[in-house]
Amino acid sequence: MPEIFPDPTPAELSRLRSGIRIMAMHDLRDSDLAEEVAQESLARLVQALRQGRLQNPAHLGAFTRAIARHVIVDMLRARQRLAAAGTTAEPASDEDSLGAMVSAEQAGRVHAALEQLSAGDRQILRLSFFEGLTPQQVAERVGAPSARVRKRKERALERLRKVYLEGAGHGTAVRPTQLPEAQAAIARPGMSE
């Protein structure tokens, strides 16, 4: 008899949902589809948990990821079919669609905070976020000690994180509607599969 773990708490569900949305936006670049992926994945997750298919609660993240990945692949296939039939619009550019995850207010605050950073700190962020360099590689690129680059980057990110989270009760962009929907997903575990 498999061990059945309790349903995730609302806070855990909220966190999982935000994470799934990030995954889905990363791959699909579409807010509506990302929302669908999150709902469907959570429903499947709850169903799987109740069937005792999670063997180790420490692996909840990996387990959820596997479910979400299946849902995303299904969505991608559906979109390809629609595209082949000529019934879907051209997706927006990467930055436009991912930018939908950040509110205009948050984007404005981050922009203002970036302007306050030194040119050097911004260069570190450019090399990190546009060229994907690790702190060590940034240090090699700019000819500075890696400890110094690491510290400057951490300090800059911490400043930006603070302004990004201003006015929010929590960190991730958990939308007010998410929690009730997640709880509803628990209430109707048979909706998928």
Binding site: H26, A62, F129
Partner: protein, 242 residues
């Protein structure tokens, strides 16, 4: 705020940044996604990364010096607006237009500590002293100091790169082109892509448009600010040299 060892490891490996650039290997992506699904801190980091990627290219205000982006944009617009009708053949002598496109107002940025340890004995310190001159925009003095650091055995990639940059800023385009070629010849160093871009600039100053274009195309493959500038400049050069 980092909460776990895993978060620190992901930060050290620039996982957030590479995730947004879609540059994680499948195994890395699996590990990172499996982690952030239950980690609020890393979810915040990804969202903040999205905000930074959206906002950073629009930030042009620099405290004391002209922005790179503004410079490239200005050159591109000037070229497009004022020079589009100019027809040049590759065999002609260097045109004022191409030379102007090779201008570099702000030197490649150096963020290191100017001087450290004993300047009389350490190659690193010789490099640091040279870079203090470079940061002070005393390029003609920085160049011999960098050569001394190289002779003393300092890491060659950064020293060669900033030596070539010093030549470029001193309007010694031939020396700059040769210097950046040495950096490129070092292979896969963090300076390679920028070296292509700046050698392209130096070659433009020498009126060697075809070679400059090839270098700019190499740099254009790079994402980010330099890649964007290289693409814009390459397009402009192509129009002007047509």
């Amino acid at each position: 705020m980092r909460q776990t060892i895993a978060c620190d490891d992901f930060a050290e490996g620039a996982f957030v940044e590479r995730y947004l650039l879609k540059r994680l290997s499948p195994a890395e992506q699996e590990a990172f996604e499996g982690h952030f699904l239950t980690c609020e801190s890393c979810q915040q980091a990804v969202e903040l990364g999205i905000a930074i990627r959206g906002a950073l290219p629009k930030v042009t205000a620099l405290p004391a010096r002209r922005s790179w982006v503004a410079l490239a944009g200005g050159l591109g617009l000037a070229a497009a607006a004022g020079l589009a009708a100019v027809l040049l053949l590759p065999s002609q002598r260097p045109s004022a237009e191409l030379t102007r496109l090779g201008a570099v107002v702000q030197a490649p940025l150096y963020l290191g500590i100017p001087v450290r340890a004993d300047p009389a004995t350490s190659a690193d310190s010789l490099f640091g002293a040279a870079m203090a001159l470079y940061a002070a925009e005393r390029y003609s003095e920085a160049a011999p100091a960098l050569r001394a650091a190289l002779r003393a055995g300092v890491d060659s990639a950064p020293a060669e790169f900033f030596l070539a940059a010093s030549a470029l800023m001193s309007r010694q385009a031939e020396d700059a082109a040769t210097g950046f070629a040495r950096v490129i010849a070092l292979g896969d160093t963090p300076y390679r892509s920028e070296a292509y871009f700046y050698r392209g600039k130096a070659l433009l100053r020498l009126g060697r448009a075809a070679e400059a274009l090839a270098d700019l195309r190499s740099a254009a493959a790079l994402e980010g600010v330099i890649g964007g500038q290289a693409r814009a400049l390459a397009d402009t050069v192509q129009r002007v040299a047509r």
